[in-house]
């Protein structure tokens, strides 16, 4: 045992002066040990609903600190005097008070708490009763959200909350993009995620199974406490915490099968050979040279290919398997309660290649209380292993490769090194990637280990005044190994021994946070005050190492020491931040609510003169239904008006982007030896500063029939200024990359959000219906340098329009004859059979100035509809989700309609010829001299869709055995049915986000998943 003196010495030795004083302060406060007098009372607590015993119910003698907890069979014992009042409390149930009197046995029956507004919501650095919220905070219905089987919690938000859009893909372990209330930034629109108080950029490494609650903070009033990180909204995730009481064990297992539901109609061998030969014929006729058809496509040639007819979609797509098992233990005593979760997730790809994603994660939460001191810790460890798909060129995905692969290429070919088929220069002339071969030959494996440790303690210094210290440590280690062995995948895709390479990237990142929080809570008559002040420090250390070995013989061991030559490099950065936060909540008579937030942030991401910024917000609420002067009918349970105003920031720019550096590897060679060269390569803006967003919103909340029917309507305006943006520079600047990150624009987002829900739990048939709808209008109010618009992939972003609007030429028909070509505005390279484009500016020539806006790329609305019901032992739910009002450039369709050497869409078979003139498909020509496949409205389609995102049917097996408390089996379907006019694989595709938001280059389609699951509670 450490004595007081020893402790002093210890403090003195270990602590800096400031902290030492703090330790003394803590020692000055003493804790009253509790002692109880009287007789022993015992009883059983049961649920009013099903008469089953309730374990873990808290029983407290009113006005004292004497506490007991029900055990395994809902039984408890407590020492109490006859005058004592026992307060029974249990989450989700209404509190019950019973006077002890003369009884020694006191049973209690608790009824479910139907007042949904008493729910406690986790907000930034604290909690609040839902009914007291003045900001815009959406609470996710976890029961519904968890029905989405996924590796990423962000994906679970899809359609659950108005104003939140999710873009995902079917790639195992692929990244999920999420946006709250539209886009506020050009650089990063993903919200901040806070998991158990720890800030993380994305919930990527965390198992969704252990999540207890999710809240989305959407406006400045609620997110201002996160200041510089709050502009894109905040998602707060709380994982399951232990509760004192009986040990509970939950096991969950789900196994699902995944398929791509849609098939593109692409040409088979004959169709392919026909179109490509026509394209070569047209090329040669136009060039005035003898017609030369690729021998492989020419029936008169001895090299004619007639024995290969690969259906690449059929060959490459298979049934993927997704599985998730989770085991959770909870229990413990008041002094220490635990929740421990082990979660295993594995997803094998629906592409017939080794790609998959496997993850095991564990999470331990400990929390407890001893007198005035509360404490807790979180220890989480995740290990994931991802076999990554390979891209030959950036943006060329395995999906686009499958569609572009020519049917005259065999999947396997024993004569080629590696055993996979390819194309030939001489016979086929097509450069065509064999995606099955490529992804099977290459090993590209990414491993991530992430450890999170968090420890906190909270001391109640005097009644209502609490000091909390929370320290977290978040470390990720990763290793990616990519080995490209020597192989022959046909012409162009040959990897020689000299080119064979092994790339290894190791790295680690450590993020530490230290939060010092002081809170004060007091109720003085009708006045309720709740205040927070805090000091936060953050540090992020990142280090990457790369090693590269080049030169391997076939079969040689894929390790660095076997390479013919090697090189290595490293990269590191440190980002630091210091913040001061404060919040004041004031409520008067449960009628008027006011909240104010202030945060000051300083960060190393900007130069010293720009590194500090202040953010604040004010919001208020008026609980109209609590006004005495109103005599509302009894069925009106809640009317609340709330609104707020505030400022938020965004600092998501890469580190060191304000200080220009020189590159020392720009060398040359003289006399066959390296001559070192040093120069400035990138253009940086030394004055770059924070991006700021101000948001205003007003909302009305209504509740009827004991809040069984609820409605919320909200309107918001978000204005962002000094947007951080990589402004494209002309090539003539000479900088690489040809852009400069600067504060280059302003924009505004506004919209309405509605939610409505009805639940009826009064009968044996219980059901809930909820719906949400969010609208969004984005407008750029300032852009670029001197208002110069910014161009993206088939898009243009300019003042007065929304970001990333599609911008393209307009096709107005097909030239039928030479006379028509001659009589039309000049279109260089045009001939009969080519697409005629509209001369928008009427200058008699088709140039880049004839491109026009072709539609908004950001969905104008998004919605979700949830229905769930249960009857006796059966339960059923379905969830529809959709968005629309946006246009998509179907780049995959463009590729398949290009009429070149790659494979074609079957639509292309109806190409123009002098005898087939009633068509809008141009004649294919190698080289496409007219630019028929240029960015035009030929490939722009509506992005509207409605999707049956999940449907689930479950059955609770009635059990007599008390050991197993619950056993449920269920069937779950995801992405079951989509209504859309979009012809690509999936209107819910993952794209780069903003400037090129509406460009679908061939993202992994979200698969249809049908799963069978079981849940057992012990």
């Amino acid at each position: 045992m450490i004595t007081n003196q020893q402790l002093f010495l210890y403090c003195h030795f270990l602590l800096p002066k400031k902290e030492w004083l703090l330790a003394i302060v803590m020692l000055l406060f003493s804790v009253n040990q509790m002692s109880a007098q009287g007789k022993v009372i015992s009883g059983v607590v049961t649920s009013a609903q099903d008469q089953l015993p309730l374990p873990g119910v808290n029983i407290m003698i009113k006005g004292t600190k004497t506490v007991a907890v029900t055990g395994f069979d809902g039984e408890y014992t407590i020492k109490a005097s006859p005058n004592d009042i026992l307060v029974f409390s249990f989450i989700g149930f209404q509190n019950k008070e019973l006077t002890v009197g003369n009884q020694s046995k006191l049973d209690a029956i608790l009824s479910e708490d139907t007042n949904k507004l008493n729910e406690v919501v986790v907000i930034g650095y604290g909690t609040q009763k839902k009914s007291d919220l003045t900001g815009s905070v959406s609470v996710v219905n976890m029961e519904s959200a968890k029905k989405t089987v996924t590796y990423d919690a962000a994906k679970m938000l899809q359609g659950q909350v108005p104003g939140v859009t999710v873009q995902s893909s079917g790639e195992p372990g692929g990244f999920v993009n999420i946006k709250i209330r539209g886009i506020t930034s050009f650089s990063n629109n993903n919200p901040l995620f806070v998991i158990d108080g720890i800030m993380v950029d994305a919930p990527y490494d965390f198992a969704p199974g252990e999540i207890e609650s999710m809240q989305v903070l959407k406006d400045a009033s609620s997110a201002a406490i996160y200041g510089v990180r709050g502009a894109n909204g905040v998602v707060i995730i709380t994982t399951k915490k232990g509760k004192a009481g009986k040990t509970e064990v939950k096991f969950k297992s789900i196994v699902g099968l995944q398929n791509v539901t849609k098939k593109w109609d692409v040409t088979d061998r004959l169709g392919y050979q026909k179109i490509t030969s026509e394209a070569e014929r047209n090329r040669d006729i136009r060039a005035g040279v003898p017609v030369s058809i690729a021998p492989g496509n020419d029936p008169t040639s001895p090299s004619y290919i007639s024995n290969v007819n690969t259906d690449w979609q059929k060959e490459a797509l298979q049934t993927g398997v997704v599985q998730n098992q989770a085991l959770t233990f909870t229990g413990g005593a008041e002094s220490i309660a635990y929740s421990f979760n082990v979660d295993y997730f594995k997803n094998t790809s629906y592409v017939k290649t080794p790609q998959d994603y496997e993850r095991i994660s564990t999470n331990l939460n400990l929390n407890g209380k001893k007198g005035k001191f509360k404490y807790g810790t979180k220890v989480a460890y995740t290990q994931s292993d991802k076999e990554i798909f390979n891209e030959y060129n950036a943006g060329q995905t395995v999906i686009s490769d499958i569609l572009n692969a020519v049917p005259t290429m065999p999947v396997y070919d024993a004569n080629r090194l590696g055993g996979y088929g390819g194309t030939d220069n001489l016979t086929q002339r097509a450069i065509s990637m064999n995606p099955i071969g490529y992804n099977n030959l290459i090993t590209n494996n990414g491993k991530r280990n992430r450890f999170i440790g968090d420890i906190w303690g909270e001391l109640e210094i005097v009644k209502g005044l609490k000091y909390k210290l929370d320290v977290s440590y978040d470390r990720t280690d990763w290793e990616t190994r990519k080995f490209i062995p020597p192989s022959d995948l046909g012409w162009y895709y040959i990897t020689t021994n000299d080119e064979a390479s092994l790339d290894i990237n190791n790295g680690n990142e450590l993020r530490t946070f230290m939060n010092n929080l002081l809170t004060y809570e007091v109720t003085l008559g009708k006045h309720k005050i709740d205040a927070l002040a805090g000091w936060i420090q953050e540090k992020r250390d990142h280090h990457d190492y790369w090693s590269r070995g080049v030169g391997y013989k076939p079969g040689e061991i894929a390790m660095l020491q076997y390479a013919d030559s090697r090189n290595a490099s490293e990269y590191k950065f440190t980002i630091t931040g210091v913040s001061y936060i404060s919040r004041l909540n004031y409520a008067y008579d449960d009628r008027y609510l006011i909240q104010a937030n202030f945060r000051q942030d300083r960060t190393s991401l900007f130069s010293e003169k720009n590194n500090s910024a202040n953010f604040y917000s004010f919001s208020g609420g008026w609980k109209i239904s609590n006004e005495k002067f109103l005599h509302l009918p009894s069925w009106v349970s809640n009317i609340k008006l709330r609104g707020g105003y505030g400022t938020l920031g965004n600092n998501t720019i890469p580190q060191y982007f304000f200080a220009s550096t020189v590159n020392s590897f720009a060398g040359y060679d003289f006399n066959n030896a390296l001559a070192p060269g040093t120069t400035v390569v990138a253009a940086l803006d030394p004055n770059v500063k924070w991006e700021k967003t101000t948001s205003k919103n007003i909302a009305l909340e209504l509740g009827f029939f004991d809040n069984d029917l609820q409605f919320t309507g909200e309107y918001f305006i978000k204005k962002s200024t000094d947007l951080l943006l990589g402004v494209p520079l002309p090539y003539s600047t000479g900088a690489f990359p040809a852009n400069i990150t600067t504060n280059a624009g302003d924009m505004q987002n506004k919209g309405f959000e509605f939610t409505a829900s009805y639940s009826n739990h009064h009968h044996k048939f219980k059901y809930d219906i909820s719906a949400n709808l969010g609208t969004l209008k984005n407008e750029i109010t300032k852009i670029g340098v001197n208002g110069n618009p910014i161009y993206g992939a088939v898009s243009k972003t300019e003042v007065g329009r929304s970001a990333g609007e599609l911008f393209a030429w307009e096709a107005i028909g097909i030239f039928q004859n030479a006379a028509e070509v001659a009589a039309s505005p000049k279109q260089t390279g045009a001939a009969p059979g080519d697409v005629k484009f509209r001369d928008v500016n009427g200058d008699g020539i088709i140039t880049d100035a004839d491109r026009t806006f072709q539609g908004v790329a950001i969905p104008k609305y998004g919605f979700g509809i949830n229905f769930s019901a249960s009857y006796s032992n059966f339960d059923f739910s379905m969830f529809w989700q959709g968005s629309g009002g946006n246009k998509v450039f179907n780049a995959m369709y463009r590729n398949l309609m290009a009429g070149q050497y790659g494979n074609h869409s079957t639509d292309e078979l109806n190409y123009w010829t002098p005898t087939n003139t009633n068509t809008n498909i141009p004649a294919p020509v190698i080289g496409d001299p007219n630019g028929n496949s240029r960015d035009s409205n030929r490939f722009i389609q509506s992005g509207d869709y409605v999707r049956l995102q999940t449907m689930e049917m479950g059955f609770n097996i009635p059990l007599k055995d008390k050991f197993i408390q619950k056993a449920r089996v269920y069937v779950n379907g995801q992405n079951l049915w989509t209504i859309t006019k979009y012809t690509g694989y999936d209107p819910d595709f993952n794209s780069d986000g903003l400037i090129s938001r509406g460009y679908d280059a061939g993202s992994f389609p979200n698969p249809r998943t049908v799963s069978l699951g079981v849940e057992v509670n012990f």
């Binding site: 045992m1 450490i2 210890y10 602590l15 330790a23 020692l27 001893k370 001191f373 220069n425 001489l426 001391l459 210290l469 320290v471 040959i494 020689t496 000299d498 230290m514 420090q537 540090k539 590269r548 080049v550 090189n567 490099s569 950065f573 440190t574 630091t576 931040g577 210091v578 300083r602 190393s604 200080a659 220009s660 550096t661 020189v662 720009a666 060398g667 040359y668 060679d669 003289f670 006399n671 030896a673 001559a675 060269g677 040093t678 400035v680 494209p728 520079l729 002309p730 090539y731 003539s732 600047t733 000479g734 690489f736 990359p737 040809a738 140039t847 070149q900 080289g927 496409d928 001299p929």
Partner: protein
């Protein structure tokens, strides 16, 4: 019991505080540990030489001489054809470059300006540095002027009306081609004044380094710029200055100009230095340079015969045939044919150590085709070009070119008889008969045609032919254009204005006021 709780609390807080690294004011200023700050650079003569080396470095990227520039210069002319399956290459050769796809030509434009930016950094910073050796400072500045002139020469020559960055700024407005040539001439003039004739026999960190720009290189390019702007008088004087330097002579073996065997030889005024031995083995296509980048070229794999590389460029039949027009004094084929073209030669021809006829025996189309040999690593040392890494220096300016350009200036300024001697120097090397005997007394026009023929056979696949066609006005001459079409069907798709490539759309979009070249 009471103390126990305190102890736990105190231990918890102290451990928590101690184990967390505190962030204080100093930590809020973080500087990039991976690179040196620009403020600490440009202090010494070594910094200056590294700065100018970086300006040379831009010659090695994909957009410049690693691949795109030779292809852009060669593909359109009647000495080469392209059947590349890659649209950007194919279209470059067919006057059909697509405004929507700036691959190849856009990369060239982009990297010329990266080179100019690097040269301008030298010109802006080096004058401020104190040098012990003033001659070294002059050499460094002279090289920077030369390189800026060289990159700008390419930009003006291929893209016509382009921006002219002469200082460090972000936006440079588009200028006329005449203004561009003026700046090119000014830069080469300054460079010629500052540069030494040779780096042998000097002292300094650059002593003995072959490949650095010399006075001869600057004068040669200055003369070429005059010639391209039809200032024959100044061109003549300048070429004569080069000849009078007395340091250049033709190498006896023509093929020594296109292999690694005899690089930086007596005939070479300026060449881009490629080497398989310098730097790493990664292909430094472009972007931010990395430590693993090699210093090699991808020209050889791009131009290589079928099955040895990509065959994106092939010699034209017009070239092959024209080599047969005139025999050497000993009655043999012009030796430049075999140095330039692979073909099914009666009596056999070796490529990459294999016999042409045997290798292509099973592929009749290839057996009867012709392929590039110039600048290929095909003399037996390598089995193919598939490692992408060619170490052959690209000879940008040869003394043979100076002689023929000088002869052209003599002819254009009225001294047609004087042109014979300089032409014959080039012919003598390959054993061709004396022109004064076979074709005496040519008129100025006949001499022009003769020079055209001589240049065609001396420089095929060296990027000069299309420049010649354009500057001689053949594209505006109906008869000449018809003749070109008869030699190379690629000219069928030529339309007026397409003698220049389009200004890349990225430049159009982001440099306000930029006008696209005609016909795009």
């Amino acid at each position: 019991m009471k103390y126990k709780i305190f102890n736990y609390i105190a231990i918890f807080f102290s451990l928590a505080v101690v184990t967390t690294s505190c962030v204080d004011n100093e930590d809020l200023t973080q500087l990039d540990p991976n690179n040196n700050a620009v403020d600490s650079f440009w202090k010494t003569d070594e910094d200056a030489i590294e700065g100018v080396n970086a300006a040379y470095g831009s010659l090695l990227t994909d957009g410049t001489y690693m691949r795109s520039t030779p292809l852009l210069l060669d593909a359109r002319a009647d000495d080469a054809r392209t059947n590349s399956p890659w649209g950007s290459m194919y279209n470059a050769g067919h006057f059909n470059s697509n405004v929507a796809d700036a691959s190849i030509y856009g990369w060239a434009f982009e990297t010329y300006y990266q080179g100019i930016y690097r040269a301008n950094q030298v010109l802006a910073n080096v004058p401020e540095i104190e040098f012990k050796d003033a001659a070294l400072k002059n050499r460094i500045l002279g090289q920077a002027y030369f390189l800026r002139g060289l990159y700008l020469f390419h930009a003006v020559n291929l893209f016509k009306n382009v921006p002219i960055p002469t200082s460090l700024a972000v936006y440079y407005p588009q200028k006329t081609q005449a203004e561009g040539w003026e700046q090119v001439i000014a830069d080469f003039k300054t460079a010629a004044e500052l540069l030494p004739v040779s780096y042998n026999g000097i002292s300094g960190i650059d002593a003995g380094q072959k490949g650095r720009a010399t006075k001869g290189a600057a004068l040669g390019y200055l003369g070429k710029a005059y010639l391209f702007t039809k200032d024959f008088a100044n061109a003549k004087t300048t070429f004569k200055q080069v000849i009078d330097l007395g340091v250049y002579s033709l190498v006896s073996n023509y093929r020594d100009n296109f292999t690694t065997a005899n690089e930086n030889n007596s005939e070479s005024l300026f060449e881009v230095q490629f080497s398989r031995d310098a730097g790493g083995v990664d292909l430094g296509w472009g972007g931010a340079p990395a430590s693993g980048w090699g210093k090699t070229s991808a020209r050889a794999i791009t131009y290589a015969p079928r099955a040895f590389g990509w065959t994106d460029v092939q010699p034209s039949w017009a070239l092959f045939n024209e080599f047969h027009d005139e025999k050497t004094k000993t009655g043999e084929l012009d030796p430049r044919l075999d140095a330039t073209i692979f073909y099914n030669k009666p009596g056999g021809m070796k490529l990459y150590g294999k016999d042409f006829a045997t290798f292509y025996a099973s592929s009749p189309a290839d057996l009867n085709d012709i392929f590039c040999r110039k600048y290929q690593n095909s003399d037996g040392e390598f089995a193919d070009e598939y490692d992408w890494r060619s170490g052959i220096n690209e000879r940008l300016l040869r003394y043979a070119d100076i002689l023929l350009m000088y002869a052209e200036c003599l002819n254009e300024t009225g001294d047609t008889p004087g042109a014979y001697g300089y032409i014959q120097m080039v012919r003598n090397r390959v054993g061709l008969p004396d022109l004064a005997i076979t074709k005496p007394g040519m008129t100025q026009d006949q001499m022009r045609e003769q020079i055209g023929h001589e240049r065609f056979l001396e420089f095929p696949l060296e990027g000069h032919r299309f420049d010649d066609i354009r500057r001689w006005g053949w594209l505006e001459n109906t008869a000449k254009l018809a003749w070109l079409k008869s030699r190379d069907a690629e000219f069928n798709s030529y339309t007026a204005g397409r003698e220049y490539y389009p200004i890349p759309q990225l430049e159009m979009d982001n440099n306000p006021g930029t006008k696209q070249n005609d016909s795009y």
